[in-house]
C-alpha cells in the first residue's frame, strides 16, 4: 500500500492529476448513468410496479444468488440500454445546422464534468490533526467556479434547440434559457448569506466550499450546526432553484414531453441524446454535492458530529490504529459524502414522481415574484444579523 502510494507520488504531476481526474470520472460517470435505471426503478416502486427486471445475460445471470438479484434490480437492462445507445444508428436530420447540432451535446457534458473538479468530496487528517480536503483542484473561488462553469450548460440547451431548426426544440431551448437565467439569480443570492457568515472579519476572504464545511464541523452548538438549520430559508431557496437549474420535475419546462414533444432534444437520438442525459444527471450530482457542502455538513456524518469526532470515537472504541490511517479516513469521508449525494439524487426522483409539472407562467411567477424577493429579503436579513454578530 505505502510503496504503491510512494510510486504514485513519484509520477510527474500531470500524470498524477490525470489519474485522479480519471478516478473521479470513473465514479461520477457510472453514477450518472446508473441514475437512469434508478429513475425507472424509483418511478416503478412509487407506482406499485416492479420496474425493469427481465433482462439477463448468460453466465453472469446464472451465478446463484447474485445473478437473480442483479436481474431484479435491472442492472443488465442498464447495460443493454448503454449498448443500445452506443450501437444504434445515429441519423442526423436534414434540416439541422450540423456543426452546432453536433456541438451541443459536447457543450452539455463538458461543463457538467468540469464543475466536478472544484467540488471537494472528502477529507483526511494529516499527522498534525489538520484537516485536508480531498478535491481535484483546491481553488479559492470554489462556489464561483461552480456557478460560472455550470451556467455554461444553458448554452448547450439553447444551441441544441436552435440548431435542430425545428419548432418544438426551438421552444424548448427558449424555455430552458428563460428558466435557467431566472433561477440562477435566486440560486446565487441564496448562497451569499453562507459566504457572508464564513468570511468573518479577520479570517481572510475565501469562496471555497471547503471552508463552508470547516465551519460546520466546529465544536459547540452553533459551531456544529449544519447551515440548513442556521439558514433554512437559504437552503430551501437553493434547493428549489437547484431543481429548476437541473431541469427536474416540477420544473422540466425545457423537455415537458406533453406539450413540446421532447423539448430541446427532440431531434436527437442515440448517443448524442444519451450525452444530454448523462450531463443532466452529472449536473444533479454536482448540484447536490454543492448543496451538501454548503448546507448539509459535507462529509460530516451527522449534525453536531463532525468527521473528527466519528474517527476519534471509532479509534477510541476499538483501539485500532487502522481507523486513523489517512486512507481509511479519506475513504470513510468519501463514503459519507457519496451516501448523502445518493440520498439527494433519490430525493430528486422522489419529488419527480410526486409533484406534477408547473405551467410555464407559474414557473416564471414562482421564480421572479416569489423566490427572487424572498432571496433578496433573506440576504438583507442575514446581512444585518451577521453584521451585528460578527461586527
Amino acid at each position: 500500500m505505502s510503496t504503491l502510494l510512494a510510486r504514485f507520488f513519484e509520477l510527474p504531476l500531470f500524470v498524477q492529476d490525470l489519474l485522479k481526474g480519471l478516478a473521479v470520472i470513473a465514479v461520477v460517470f457510472p453514477i450518472a448513468s446508473a441514475c437512469s435505471m434508478a429513475e425507472r426503478k424509483v418511478s416503478a416502486w412509487i407506482q406499485g410496479r416492479p420496474g425493469p427486471n427481465r433482462t439477463v445475460v448468460p453466465w453472469l445471470g446464472w451465478i446463484p444468488v447474485v445473478g437473480p438479484v442483479l436481474q431484479r434490480l435491472g442492472i443488465f437492462q442498464l447495460m443493454a440500454d448503454g449498448l443500445k445507445f452506443l450501437f444504434k444508428e445515429e441519423p442526423v436530420p436534414r434540416q439541422v445546422n450540423r456543426l452546432y447540432y453536433v456541438l451541443a451535446p459536447a457543450i452539455a457534458i463538458i461543463p457538467a464534468f468540469t464543475t466536478v473538479t472544484v467540488v471537494p468530496f472528502g477529507a483526511y487528517f494529516d499527522p498534525q490533526g489538520k484537516i485536508i480536503p480531498l478535491a481535484l483542484s483546491h481553488v479559492d473561488v470554489g462556489i464561483l467556479a461552480v456557478f460560472a462553469v455550470a451556467s455554461l450548460g444553458v448554452y448547450s440547451l439553447i444551441l441544441a434547440g436552435w440548431a435542430s431548426n425545428s419548432k418544438y426544440p426551438f421552444l424548448g431551448g427558449i424555455r430552458a434559457s428563460a428558466q435557467l437565467i431566472s433561477y440562477e439569480l435566486s440560486l446565487t443570492l441564496a448562497v451569499v448569506p453562507v459566504f457572508l457568515w464564513i468570511n468573518a472579519p479577520g479570517t481572510g476572504a475565501s469562496l471555497s466550499l471547503e471552508r463552508a464545511v470547516a465551519f460546520q464541523s466546529q465544536p459547540g452548538f452553533w459551531g456544529g450546526a449544519w447551515f440548513v438549520f442556521v439558514m433554512p430559508v437559504s437552503a430551501l431557496i437553493f434547493l428549489i432553484a437547484l431543481f429548476a437549474e437541473t431541469n427536474r420535475q416540477p420544473f422540466d419546462m425545457p423537455e415537458s414531453e406533453s406539450d413540446l414533444v421532447g423539448g430541446f432534444h427532440t431531434e436527437y437520438g442515440a448517443f448524442k441524446w444519451a450525452l444530454f442525459f448523462v450531463a443532466e444527471y452529472a449536473n444533479m450530482i454536482v448540484g447536490s454535492g454543492v448543496f451538501i457542502l454548503l448546507f448539509l455538513g459535507g462529509w460530516n456524518p451527522l449534525p453536531w458530529v463532525p468527521l473528527s469526532a466519528l474517527i476519534g470515537g471509532l479509534h477510541h472504541a476499538t483501539g485500532w490504529a487502522f481507523w486513523i490511517h489517512p486512507a481509511v479516513v479519506g475513504l470513510l469521508s468519501i463514503a459519507i459524502f457519496l451516501g448523502k449525494i445518493l440520498f439527494l439524487l433519490f430525493f430528486f426522483m422522489w419529488v419527480r414522481w410526486t409533484v406534477p409539472r408547473f405551467r410555464y407562467d407559474q414557473v416564471m411567477k414562482l421564480g421572479w415574484r416569489t423566490l427572487l424577493p424572498l432571496a433578496v429579503a433573506n440576504l438583507i436579513a442575514y446581512a444585518i444579523g451577521i453584521a451585528f454578530i460578527q461586527g
Binding site: G48, R49, T354, V355
Partner: protein, 181 residues
C-alpha cells in the same frame, strides 16, 4: 332554477406556500414506495380465473370417458363468425353408444375466427362443448391456429355431468320395457 352559491374560501398562507402540500404528497409516494407491487408478473404468476369465464372453446367427455358430441352441428350453425366446421361420422356398431347414432369424424375450431361469444356452449343440447379457462392461444402459422378434434378433447378433458341424459333415457326405456311388456 335555484342557484347555490358555493363559498370559495381564500387559500391560507400554508396552502399558498405549497410546501406543506408537497410534503404531504411526498409522504404518500413514500408509502407507495414500500407498498407491495400491484403487478402480476405474468408468465410465472397467473391471474385467478373467475367463475363463468369464457376462454378457448373445448370438447369434453362424460365421466365415463365417452365422447359427448353427437355431431348435430347446431354449434356450427349458430357460430357467428363461422369458426366451427364439423364433418359428421357414424358411431361404431355394437358399442354402448349406438343410441346417439352420430359422432363427429372431424371437429375443427378456427381460433383466428372464434370470438369467444359462448353461443356454441349455450346451444349444445349434449353439453359437449364448453368455453373453459384457457386464454393464451399462440401459433406460428394459420394452420396451427385451428384446433382439431384431438386437440379439442385434450384441452377439454372430463367435466362432471349433472344430467346423465342418455343414462336416464336408457334407464327409463329399460323400465318401460320391463314394466309394460
Amino acid at each position: 332554477m335555484a342557484v347555490i352559491q358555493v363559498q370559495r374560501k381564500p387559500l391560507t398562507l400554508a396552502e399558498r406556500a405549497y410546501l406543506p402540500q408537497i410534503a404531504a404528497g411526498l409522504k404518500i409516494t413514500l408509502k407507495h414506495l414500500f407498498a407491495p407491487n400491484e403487478t402480476l408478473e405474468y408468465p410465472e404468476q397467473r391471474p385467478a380465473i373467475p367463475a363463468g369465464y369464457r376462454g378457448v372453446p373445448t370438447l369434453v367427455e362424460d365421466p365415463n370417458g365417452r365422447e359427448k358430441c353427437v355431431s348435430c352441428q347446431l354449434c356450427e350453425f349458430v357460430c357467428p363468425p363461422k369458426a366451427i366446421r364439423i364433418t359428421p361420422g357414424s358411431v361404431p356398431e355394437g358399442g354402448d353408444r349406438d343410441h346417439v347414432e352420430k359422432a363427429p369424424a372431424a371437429f375443427d375450431i378456427d381460433m383466428l375466427r372464434c370470438i369467444y361469444c359462448g353461443l356454441c356452449q349455450e346451444v349444445c343440447p349434449e353439453e359437449a362443448i364448453f368455453l373453459q379457462n384457457q386464454y393464451s392461444v399462440s401459433g406460428y402459422s394459420r394452420a396451427e391456429m385451428v384446433n382439431h378434434k384431438d386437440r379439442l378433447y385434450e384441452l377439454g378433458g372430463v367435466l362432471p355431468d349433472r344430467h346423465f341424459k342418455w343414462d336416464k333415457k336408457k334407464a327409463a326405456e329399460a323400465a318401460a320395457a320391463h314394466g309394460h311388456a
